[in-house]
């Protein structure tokens, strides 16, 4: 009896993994295959012939290209700024031992919990109240807010394993506090910091909910462009756009794996001696 419960448990988890695989990976594979469809109309899966026509369409469509350009610029700036602020905030939080530490930490991570639609709407009102109507500024502001929790979170995780005595040892050996940071804290927290910036980039590239509220007719991101295209003329260019969006994120992850090793980020997240 005991045994059969155990066996059932194993069976159940295998089924779960299979289901997850089917629902996570299968649609993506379908989208990728469909983006190479050679038919000029939206037909059934699988395509009878293959071509790059939807990609050609994408790269000749000024509307999509504008979206991709904006997305990339916003994502890069948001990643750099959010990493810088996030790392500073995490170091501050890590050192601060007074009252309100927990509250402050929760506050910094709150954008993770608040629905993106709420953030988008709130920001729209906020920017309007401030008299900021420029699409780029609003988008950048919104993306900073949604990416910031990731950079704080992962940097904090990276700092946890770094003993205070390491910084003190550096100072005892003649390094100033700043030097101790760059020589010891930063290299040890690097995996956490880099992981944070990757998440930031990926989430910025991917975001729809917040961006939808903050775009202007001239400034919009690629996912927003995809959504509006979906409403007006639905064709497989969207599939091509999706694959391109995915490629950017994937490239980043591959580069990252090559530079520091992904297992370190996902597995341990923290460098330990």
């Amino acid at each position: 009896m005991k045994r059969s419960i155990d066996n059932f448990g194993t069976f159940f988890s295998v089924i779960n993994i299979l289901l997850a695989f089917i629902f996570l990976i299968f649609p993506i594979i379908v989208a990728i295959i469909m983006s190479f469809d050679g038919r000029s109309y939206l037909g059934l899966f699988p395509p009878p012939e293959y071509s790059l026509r939807w990609y050609e369409r994408f790269f000749s469509d000024a509307y999509y290209l504008q979206g991709l350009k904006t997305s990339l610029i916003i994502a890069i700036i948001a990643t750099v700024v959010s990493t810088t602020i996030g790392v500073s905030a995490a170091i501050g939080l890590d050192r601060y031992q007074g009252i309100g530490k927990q509250a402050l930490e929760s506050l910094f991570l709150s954008p993770l919990v608040v629905p993106a639609v709420v953030i988008g709407f709130a920001l729209l009102m906020f920017f309007a109240a401030l008299g900021i109507f420029d699409g780029f500024t609003r988008l950048l502001g919104g993306h900073l807010i949604i990416t910031f929790p990731y950079t704080v979170r992962t940097t904090l995780a990276g700092l946890v394993g770094i003993r205070k005595s390491l910084t003190e040892a550096a100072m005892n050996l003649g390094a100033t506090e700043g030097q101790a940071f760059w020589d010891v804290t930063f290299p040890l927290a690097r995996t956490g910091i880099v992981a944070g910036s990757v998440f930031a980039f990926a989430f910025s590239m991917d975001d729809v909910a917040v961006s939808l509220f903050l775009t202007s007719p001239q400034t919009y991101t690629l996912p927003v462009a995809m959504i509006s295209m979906m409403r007006t003329n639905f064709d497989l260019t969207i599939a091509a756009a999706a694959v391109i969006l995915m490629t950017f994120t994937l490239c980043l992850i591959i580069i990252l794996d090559w530079v520091i090793g992904l297992d370190k980020i996902i597995g341990k997240g923290v460098y330990r001696s």
Partner: protein, 364 residues
């Protein structure tokens, strides 16, 4: 010459006084042990000297100059951390060279000195290893080399051997002493282990609750502790409580314990006290079970009859527990020289000299 001098140094954390008016000095090339239980303020004292905590009152002089307002990197004080604090992402070589880079050593001299230091701690051949690939003992030696490389005026060791297992500890204690001697380093060792403190230190300071209780040569600390706390901290002891009942001539006092025993003690070892109530400590190794060994004209030798309740043979020593009155146990330690072990229940006599009775105040 005093390399380091502390004058009435006080440090408070909120209402808690971690270090309370502590004054001492260390001369060039000497090793001072700071001994005390955890939380007695010894580590805080080290952190005050190295500049990681700010002094509330008093002054700290390094080579005659007050360093109280100096930052850690402005003081030439080496600190060996309890966890060694080796930089895990740097090789052994880089760890040792780190301080020299920041202390403005001439660049081309650094590799040479690094090598010299690794030779000193016998780690040649380990230059490229990362700390994670070294044993605990090796890590400690890297940390020591790293601290010594910058030629600090004084080196502070925070529980240097506590992270190692017992067997390794003895070996490394000897090695540590040798290395410190080689470079003639002025040193403070903080430890809660009395053996470590006494074997490494030229002098020992016993601390408790932020205060210095006693300072002296290791032998004096052991033989002439000034309080029950020190006596208990630096060795095993049997305690009696009693009052002076009779003052004999030739410097002998008679004391009557609460159990009703009468002991002879030396007047010269007895502090003057208002209430006349004393604690008497007899070290287990100063008590003899064999009368023939102590044939002596000393008529004042103390005798206490009892019954053996436990015998443990611990290699070089035999530990015997003897019941001298109802449930009153006395520990005795003898050297094992091949003698026949006593059976439980054997009636024995305990002998000890008045000069081996340590007398301290029973007042706190």
């Amino acid at each position: 010459m005093n390399i380091l001098e502390l004058r009435n140094v006080t440090k408070r954390f909120g209402n808690f006084t971690a270090v309370d008016k502590v004054s001492f000095s260390v001369q060039k090339g000497k090793v001072l042990s700071l001994l005390g239980p955890s939380g007695c303020g010894k580590t805080t004292t080290l952190r005050l000297i190295s500049g990681f905590e700010n002094v509330d009152e008093g002054s700290i002089l390094v080579s005659g100059k007050d360093v109280v307002n100096k930052r850690p990197y402005e003081r030439n004080v080496g600190l060996l951390f309890q966890d060694y604090a080796l930089f895990p992402h740097m090789s052994v070589e880089q760890n040792v060279a780190y301080g020299m880079k920041h202390r403005g050593f001439e660049k081309k001299l650094i590799p040479n000195r690094t090598n010299e230091m690794l030779e000193l701690v016998k780690l040649i051949g380990f230059e490229k290893r990362k700390p994670g690939q070294l044993s605990g003992g090796q890590q400690q030696r890297v940390a020591l080399a790293r601290s010594l490389a910058i030629s600090p005026e004084i080196i502070l060791l925070d529980e240097p051997l506590s992270a190692l297992d017992a067997k390794l500890r003895q070996e490394l204690r000897f090695e540590l002493k040798e290395i410190l001697n080689t470079v003639n380093a002025t040193t403070i060792v903080v430890t809660h282990d009395q053996e470590e403190a006494m074997s490494l230190g030229d002098s020992v300071i016993v601390m408790n609750e932020g205060k210095i209780i006693q300072e002296g040569h290791p032998t004096d600390i052991y033989e002439k502790p000034n309080s029950k706390f020190v006596a208990e901290f630096v060795g095993r002891s049997n305690w009696f409580n009693g009052n002076i009942v009779n003052k004999a001539d030739d410097g002998i006092l008679k004391i009557k314990t609460t159990e009703g025993f009468e002991f002879n003690i030396l007047e010269s070892l007895t502090p003057e006290l208002s209430n006349g109530n004393y604690e008497i400590c007899v070290r287990p190794e100063r008590i003899s079970l064999e009368k023939n060994e102590i044939i002596d004209e000393d008529s004042y030798i103390n005798l206490l009859p009892g019954k053996v309740v436990d015998v443990a043979h611990l290699g070089p020593d035999i530990h015997t527990v003897i019941e001298v009155s109802n449930k009153r146990m006395i520990k005795v330690v003898e050297k094992y020289t091949g003698q026949v072990l006593k059976n439980n229940g054997t009636n024995v006599n305990l002998y000890f000299y008045p000069k081996d009775c340590i007398i301290v105040s029973s007042e706190k």
